[in-house]
Structures are given as structure tokens and as C-alpha cells.
């Protein structure tokens, strides 16, 4: 555990965020790194487990909620975001974290990935990006670059991989980051920031799949073939400032988005990780509360809504 944790108040322990469910991922799967990073982030934030809802899609990654001892909905393939949206709308006092695979999020779930960015509800979305459809035995996922062929593919992919960061910028996400599953030390703080962010935070995590992705392996990320790590830490660059200071200044927003886009393109031997873009804008929750003031102090689920007096509505019809 990084030191940060040691300093954190000891109210909840790491055990409080773990279940006794057997984790059935393959040995060496990058998912283990993401799982423990999420657990450590929750621990650092000391969010009571019963105040957390983990929502996942279907895939190897989708099994995550079973391993974290919080409320959890392991939903449908590609539907984690709509479900998470409904969960947050119903009870905005919950810390909602949606997780899923890259096929789940950028393939079948692409429409929700795009439209969720427009709302800016206050929750976090973490995508396990392993370049393959793991649970269905290694077909190409939407992030696999053209011309690449992982071991269980009959032939190389003839369609281009998408750039999730670029799409997220176009969709309107207000916090956009990327991490690496095997670098827990930097992943944990990214997750804590994402959860702390007011608005929809999107975190794409490069994840190794030792069984099916024989291209982007642990060694490849480590750059053993080129003699230096392929991952470039944005925060290690002096002039990197992804945070919008004045949300009312369209020029600053565009400038920051443009830089984020620039940084998001992968080259054969350079991939950026870290925070790409952040802006503080009114959340969807805030705006709903503006319409229904009671939502400021109470989640929808606690409002006194039963047996409302509808006589005025009938009066209108006489």
C-alpha cells in the first residue's frame, strides 16, 4: 500500500472493501491491479462501503463489483453507464463508480459513452482497456489499432482503433484521465481524483491481458524492446496544465481541449498517462436541484412522494 494510505484515518480498513468471493481472473491479469487500486482509492477516501455503488457491464472486467464489498450492480454488456445514471439520479448521496471493458464501453456501449458525457452527472467511469474482448476469448476490441493481430485473431484487424480520450473530449466529459493497470502507485491517485471530481470523470486504464493480448504485454509497456518505458507521465512534464481555470472562458477551454487531444494520440513508442483535461462545470445533479430544490438536501429516493395530492390536476380537466 502506498504511504498515503498509512496516513489516512484508519476508520475503514482495506478489508472493509474486499469480499470473500473467489476472484476468477487469469493469473497475471491486469484487472487485479485495477481492482486493488479501486479498493485502495476508496480506502484513502474513507467512503463508507454502504455509501458506494459499483456498476459494471459484462466481461472479465464486469466481475469487479463482486470483489468489492459495496453495493454493486453487475449489469448488461454495454449498459453500465445508463444504469449508473439511473442509480445516481435516484440517490445522489451514493458514490457511484461505473466500470467495464473497452468492448463494453466503446463498442456496444459507445452510444452511452458519448451521451453520458453530455450530462455531467457526478460519478466516475473507469474503462479496463485491454485491446481485446477477454471473456469471449480474445477478439479485437474497439481500441485495437488497425493492422494488429492478437493471438486468437484469425487475421489482423482492418478497422482503426478509436481514440477514447478524443471522443471523451468531443462528448463533453469534465474530467478525463488515463492510467496503467500495473502502475498502482499512479493509478490510485488518479482514481481518487476522479471520484473527488464533481461531474462525470472518465478514466481509461491500459490493462494487460496476458492470455489474449500478446502485443501490449507487461514487457511492451515497460518498453523492454526499446530500452525505455513506453508510458509517458503527463504530470512529469513541467508545462503540463490540464485544468481549466476559468470555465467561462471558451478560449481557455478550447486551448486545453486541443492540448489534451494532442497528448492523447499514441505513437508506436509513446503513450501518455495521467490527467488530460479537467473543468469544473455545473453538474446535472446541481441543475436538477435547481428545478427541484428539495434535491439539494435529500436524494430523490428520500423525498416524500407517495400519495401526492393530485386534485389540482383533476381540476384543470373539468
Amino acid at each position: 500500500m502506498p504511504d498515503a494510505v498509512a496516513d489516512a484515518p484508519r476508520k475503514f480498513t482495506l478489508q472493509d472493501y474486499k469480499t470473500d468471493v473467489h476472484v476468477d481472473w487469469c493469473p497475471g491479469c491486469g484487472d487485479f491491479g485495477i481492482l486493488s487500486s479501486i479498493q485502495q482509492a476508496l480506502l484513502q477516501l474513507q467512503i463508507p462501503p454502504y455509501k458506494i455503488a459499483m456498476i459494471s457491464g459484462i466481461g472479465c472486467s464486469g466481475k469487479t463489483p463482486h470483489y468489492i464489498d459495496t453495493y454493486g450492480l453487475h449489469t448488461l454488456h454495454g449498459r453500465a453507464l445508463p444504469v449508473a445514471t439511473g442509480v445516481k439520479l435516484a440517490n445522489h448521496e451514493l458514490t457511484v463508480v461505473a466500470v467495464g471493458g473497452d468492448g463494453d464501453g466503446y463498442g456496444i456501449g459507445a452510444g452511452y459513452f458519448l451521451n453520458t458525457g453530455r450530462r455531467n452527472l457526478d460519478f466516475t467511469y473507469i474503462v479496463f482497456n485491454n485491446g481485446v474482448y477477454g471473456l469471449t476469448k480474445g477478439q479485437a476490441s474497439p481500441t485495437l489499432r488497425k493492422g494488429l493481430k492478437t493471438k486468437s485473431m484469425p487475421e489482423a484487424s482492418i478497422q482503426e482503433g478509436i481514440n477514447p480520450i478524443a471522443v471523451a473530449l468531443g462528448a463533453g466529459y469534465t474530467w478525463i484521465g488515463r492510467g496503467y493497470a500495473l502502475d498502482v502507485k499512479t493509478l490510485v491517485p488518479l482514481i481518487t481524483q476522479a471520484i473527488r471530481h464533481k461531474g462525470t470523470a472518465f478514466l481509461d486504464v491500459y490493462q494487460t491481458c496476458p492470455v489474449y493480448n500478446d502485443i501490449r504485454t507487461k514487457e511492451w509497456y515497460a518498453g523492454e524492446d526499446i530500452g525505455r518505458p513506453r508510458l509517458r507521465r503527463l504530470d512529469s512534464e513541467a508545462d503540463w496544465d490540464p485544468v481549466v481555470k476559468d470555465p467561462d472562458d471558451p478560449d481557455e477551454i478550447v486551448a486545453k481541449k486541443v492540448r489534451a487531444l494532442q497528448a492523447s494520440y499514441e505513437t508506436a513508442d509513446r503513450l501518455a498517462v495521467g490527467l488530460f483535461y479537467k473543468v469544473e462545470l455545473p453538474t446535472y445533479d446541481d441543475q436538477l436541484a435547481a428545478k427541484v430544490p428539495a434535491l439539494k438536501d435529500h436524494p430523490l429516493v428520500d423525498l416524500p412522494v407517495f400519495q401526492r395530492d393530485v386534485t389540482p390536476l383533476f381540476k384543470e380537466l373539468e
Binding site: Y50, I58, L73, V83, G86, L89, N91, G111, L313, L317
Partner: protein, 609 residues
């Protein structure tokens, strides 16, 4: 009936008129036919009224108000090959009348009808007059939209109804900044009525008079979307998700307009897959969640329904407003052809409830109770409605809400914050497991669309699988036992009838109104409402006792008939079907029933207009 181009104002004049008739103590039924088009295509509105309660329309027209020529003669010109209608002239009953624009200069011969009264009214001229009367001379062109009020006024003059009642309604609907408009419309109406009376002194046979004030009972003029919306508000709706689609949109728009007052969240989603899944997520959190859609949207929901059912979510309640199918089909027309799909809305065997409302009162009751059922049995509920019920105005007495109770079902009360004690899908005698509301200490659970154990974790074990299938499916027996018979079906008329009519949904009104006309025969009417779990024993008993049975459905295949036979083995002797995308009229019911019996036909299709 008033007809004209969409966007031409027939809706407002018809609705003003209907409200005025209600105020006069009459029972009113008003329904519209329109194209899936925003402007220009032909649309018409029927307003039927009587001193006695009515719940349906008839095809013969006594007063046709035409805003354009197409309303009279149809659009056979537009595209040679396939006219979309023949106009309404031929529907006017003998002795009936027609009001149309004198400026159209239609030679009388062209009507080819000597048995009806022609009332050409120079719409613009009358409008100019009226405007001049209130110091707005020469502004006719500017207010050309008011031609619809002129036409309405003329017809009011001809049927001899009390125009003051209409003006009262006009004043109510144009309030505040619009007050001026109210006066202009009132003036136009009065002028037109006067014009009609002076130019066509011979009174129409059919006159329509308000009841004496003391005989005017308190009643509402209400559309299906309003009844459902109000019931949902009453029931404690928290989240309504929707994606625009006719005829369902109006319900969500109604709720949206009331959302701030009633502290609801109404959200327009990116599609129906998002709509159903957001609602499932919210339901799991303990909020009463619903989504409203039509067939094409429902065709995107099987996945979400199966998910809700296997995870035992308390809902959502899906309001399925049927329209003309299949596929995009006839977006703004009416049909009841989604029953079989609603009964099997996904792969695999899973429990859900399907109920089909037949009228405003049933729509209200079903909408309210559905949320209790969703919470109590932790299953999704589908309420079947349709375009005809959604958009038609019905006259009803005030709804008695004194007996409505809210039932949230079994909730889990943690005895300790120790989470390991809780089993979200605990195996119980009823199959119902107390649910914890997320956010509760000690209530932590996770669940999944994969087969799972009582704790909600994935397992593929055989014993567990069998137990879970029995738990989930077994709830259907509990539901069938607990839902009161009054929600299952209604048998109207004598038990020992010689003729039994069978139907479902909004066709109810036309059939009930048609019963008296099936003269001489001893006839009763079985209206089926709860489709799943199906009251097989009760229905089977009634039908095997029945002498002659006639199934009446507005769809091609007779979907209720198939369900009844599957569940009871009984097949109706005759079927009266209608699949032209229009609702049954009272006379079509009579005609159809008489025809199958007379010809002793297995099947008969009816279609007027």
C-alpha cells in the same frame, strides 16, 4: 367532425368545442386521426356528444366542418396511384350538414349529395367583419389562423349550441398575455355563428343543446396520457425516463410539465435502451421508476426487461402505448398488436406482469397499482395502452381515490451493520426476498444479470440454478393469487348470455356502447385485462360455459385469442378483426358481429372510412 391540414388549427377548435359541450352537461367523446407529418397533411377530429354517457365514436357524421377542400373530397389528386383517403363528404349522414369555405367556390353539383345541407361560409370575410367589430379592421390576413374559429362558430350556429359556453372556454384557454387573442377569437366565433344563423335559417334536424344547469353533474374531460400521468404522480413516481416517440411522448411531456411541482425527475434519454436501463438502476435504489414508449421503443427493451427480472428489481413499470405496427409502421395511428410481444419480451423464462387497460378508469387504477406490484413482487410490469386511449378525450365522473394504498413490499431492516448476514436473493416460501435500499448500512448486496446465488454472486451450480428458477418463476403464482379479480377481467351483461363478446384494451368503449345495438340478442362481454399471469381458470370457466363466442380485436392475428387458447384450450367461434390502423367505431363492432353471425364466418374484417 372538423378536418383540415395539420397545423391548421383543427385541434384547438375541436378541443374548445368538446370542453364547451362538457360544460353544457353533455357526455363527450373526442378522437383525432392524424398523419406522421408536422404540417400540411390531412387530419380530422371527431367530437361525439350525448346527454347520456358515451365512450366511443360512430362513423356517420352529422356536421362536417371543412377547413380545406381535401377534407371534402380526399387527396386522390396528390399522387395518382395511391390516394390516402377519399375525404369525408361521403361519411355525412342523410340530413347532416357541411360547413366549408365559400371562397373555395365549389359548385354544388360537385358534392353529388342532395340529402345533406351545404353551408358555404366566406371564412375570411366573416373574420374581417369580426375584427372590424373590435377595431382591428383590415387585419384579417394577419390572423388568418383564426379561420378555424370561424368555421367552428358557423357550425355552432347551425347546431344551435350555446356559444357563450364556447366563449367561456376560449377565455379560460387564452389567459394573461393572451387575453387579447381571447377576445378576437370570441368575436370571430360570435360573428360566424350569427352569419350561419342569418344565411342558413333552416335549422338542422340534429340540434345540440346544453342540459339545464341543475342537471349538469361534475365531470372531467380527460385523455389517457393525463389519466396515466396523474396516477403515476399519485403513486409516488420518482423517475420517469423516456425517449420521444408518438404516441407515448405526450405522457412524458405532461409529467415534465408537472415535475417541479411534484418533485419528480423526468429525463429524456439518448434511446430506449438507456431509458429502460436507467429506470432499472433507479428501481434498484428504491425509487419508483417508469419509462413510457411505443412499439418501436419497446422492441429495444427486451434486454433491459430480462435484466430487471433476473436481478429482481422492484420494477420498472413500462408504459407501452401501442400504435400501428409492425416496425415504424403507422406512427400516429392506433392498433392493439403488441400483446404477444409484451408477453414474451426477451429470451429465456422470466417473470413479469402484463396488464392492458381498457379505459380511463382502468388506466388510472393499473398505473397506480403497477408500482405496488413492482415493489411487492420485484418484477418489471408492462402496462399496455394505445394511441386511441392516449389521445382521445373521455368524459368521466371524478375518480374515487379514497381506497388507493401504497405498498412498498418487503424491505430489509438490517439488524447489524455486519453485511454478511444479508442475502438479497434469499430463498423464501413466496420467492420474494426483502430488499435493502442501497445506502443502508448492513444492507450491502451486489447482484447480476448472470445466474447468481442468494448473495447475488455468480454461480453456475445446478442446485442453485434450480432453486433460483423456482424462486423467480414461482412469484408468478403468488402474483396470480394476490392480484384481485377486479384487475383480471370484467364480464358485463347477463351470465347466461346466448352471445359472448371477447376483447381487451381500449376497444372496450366501442363494444360496451354497441351492446344495446346488438338488438334482441342476450349478449354479454368479457373484457380481459391481466394478461400475465393469466387468469386461466376463471376465463376458461366463463368461456367453456359460453354459448357463442365472438373475439373482437384491432390486430391481424387475434393476439388475445391466441393467448386464451394457449391458456385455456378454448378457441372463439368467430373473430371480428380490424387492422387498418384505426380504432373500432361503435357501428363497426355491431356490423362485424352481425356479419360473422349472419354469415356464420370464422372471421370478418371491418373497416370504415
Amino acid at each position: 367532425m372538423i378536418g383540415g391540414p395539420q397545423g391548421g388549427g383543427i385541434n384547438s377548435s375541436a378541443e374548445l368545442y368538446a370542453k364547451a359541450l362538457l360544460r353544457g352537461g353533455l357526455s363527450v367523446f373526442a378522437n383525432i386521426e392524424l398523419h406522421s407529418n408536422i404540417m400540411g397533411k390531412h387530419s380530422y377530429y371527431r367530437v361525439t356528444a350525448a346527454p347520456v354517457p358515451i365512450r366511443s365514436h360512430v362513423d356517420p357524421v352529422h356536421m362536417l366542418v371543412a377547413l380545406d377542400e381535401e377534407t371534402l373530397f380526399g387527396d386522390a389528386g396528390e399522387r395518382k396511384h395511391y390516394p390516402s383517403h377519399q375525404g369525408h363528404l361521403h361519411q355525412i349522414a342523410t340530413g347532416g350538414g357541411v360547413v366549408y369555405d365559400a371562397d373555395l367556390k365549389i359548385p354544388a353539383e360537385r358534392f353529388e349529395r342532395t340529402d345533406i345541407r351545404l353551408h358555404p361560409v366566406p371564412y375570411m370575410e366573416v373574420l374581417e367583419q369580426a375584427l372590424t367589430g373590435i377595431g382591428r379592421g383590415g387585419q384579417g390576413r394577419k390572423y388568418v389562423v383564426m379561420r378555424n374559429i370561424v368555421a367552428l362558430g358557423a357550425s355552432i350556429g347551425l347546431i344551435g349550441y350555446d356559444e357563450e359556453l364556447v366563449i367561456e372556454v376560449i377565455r379560460e384557454s387564452f389567459k394573461g398575455r393572451k387575453a387579447e387573442a381571447a377576445e378576437m377569437n370570441a368575436a370571430a366565433l360570435t360573428a360566424a355563428a350569427a352569419y350561419a344563423r342569418s344565411h342558413f335559417p333552416a335549422r338542422l334536424e340534429r340540434q345540440l343543446r346544453p342540459l339545464p344547469v341543475e342537471q349538469r353533474a361534475q365531470r372531467l374531460l380527460i385523455k389517457g396520457v393525463q389519466a396515466v400521468g396523474i396516477a403515476k404522480i399519485k403513486a409516488g413516481l420518482g423517475l420517469q425516463t423516456y425517449y420521444p416517440i408518438s404516441p407515448a411522448t405526450d405522457e412524458s411531456v405532461y409529467l415534465e410539465s408537472k415535475a417541479p411541482d411534484f418533485q419528480m425527475t423526468v429525463i429524456q434519454c439518448e434511446d430506449e435502451i438507456a431509458s429502460i436501463n436507467m429506470a432499472v438502476g433507479a428501481a434498484h435504489m428504491g425509487v419508483r421508476a417508469a419509462t413510457s414508449t411505443a412499439g418501436p421503443g419497446f422492441s429495444l427493451m427486451p434486454e433491459g426487461l430480462g435484466f430487471a427480472s433476473i436481478t429482481e428489481a422492484p420494477g420498472p413499470v413500462v408504459f407501452l402505448w401501442q400504435r400501428g405496427g409492425p416496425s415504424t409502421g403507422l406512427p400516429t395511428r392506433s392498433e392493439q398488436a403488441d400483446l404477444q410481444f409484451a408477453l414474451h419480451p426477451g429470451h429465456g423464462d422470466f417473470p413479469h406482469i402484463v396488464i392492458a387497460s381498457g379505459d380511463i378508469e382502468e388506466a388510472f387504477a393499473d398505473s397506480f397499482e403497477s408500482f405496488n406490484w413492482a415493489d411487492r413482487y420485484q418484477v418489471p410490469v408492462v402496462v399496455l395502452l394505445d394511441k386511441f386511449l392516449a389521445s382521445s378525450f373521455w368524459t368521466i365522473p371524478p375518480i374515487d381515490m379514497s381506497k388507493l394504498v401504497v405498498d412498498r413490499g418487503a424491505l430489509y431492516q438490517p439488524t447489524s451493520p455486519d453485511t454478511n448476514g444479508y442475502r438479497r436473493h434469499a430463498l423464501t416460501a413466496t420467492g420474494i426476498s426483502p430488499r435493502a435500499l442501497p445506502g443502508t448500512p448492513g444492507g450491502i448486496f451486489s447482484t447480476t444479470s448472470d445466474e447468481h446465488d442468494p448473495q447475488g454472486h455468480i454461480t453456475e451450480g445446478v442446485e442453485n440454478r434450480i432453486a433460483m428458477m423456482r424462486k423467480r418463476m414461482g412469484k408468478l403464482d403468488v402474483i396470480a393469487r394476490e392480484i384481485p379479480e377486479s384487475f383480471k377481467f370484467k364480464l358485463a351483461g347477463p351470465k347466461d348470455a346466448e352471445l359472448t363478446l371477447i376483447s381487451w384494451g381500449s376497444t372496450k368503449g366501442a363494444i360496451l356502447d354497441a351492446l344495446p345495438a346488438l338488438d334482441g340478442r342476450r349478449v354479454n362481454f368479457l373484457h380481459v385485462r391481466l394478461m400475465k399471469p393469466f387468469p386461466a381458470a376463471e376465463i376458461g370457466k366463463i368461456l367453456s360455459a359460453a354459448k357463442t363466442t365472438v373475439l373482437i380485436e384491432p390486430n391481424y392475428t387475434g393476439q388475445l385469442g391466441a393467448l386464451i387458447r394457449e391458456q385455456t384450450g378454448v378457441q372463439a367461434d368467430h373473430r371480428v378483426l380490424k387492422y387498418d390502423g384505426r380504432p373500432f367505431s361503435r357501428n363497426e363492432v355491431v356490423e362485424g358481429v352481425e356479419a360473422v353471425l349472419a354469415k356464420n364466418a370464422k372471421e370478418w374484417m371491418v373497416s370504415h372510412a
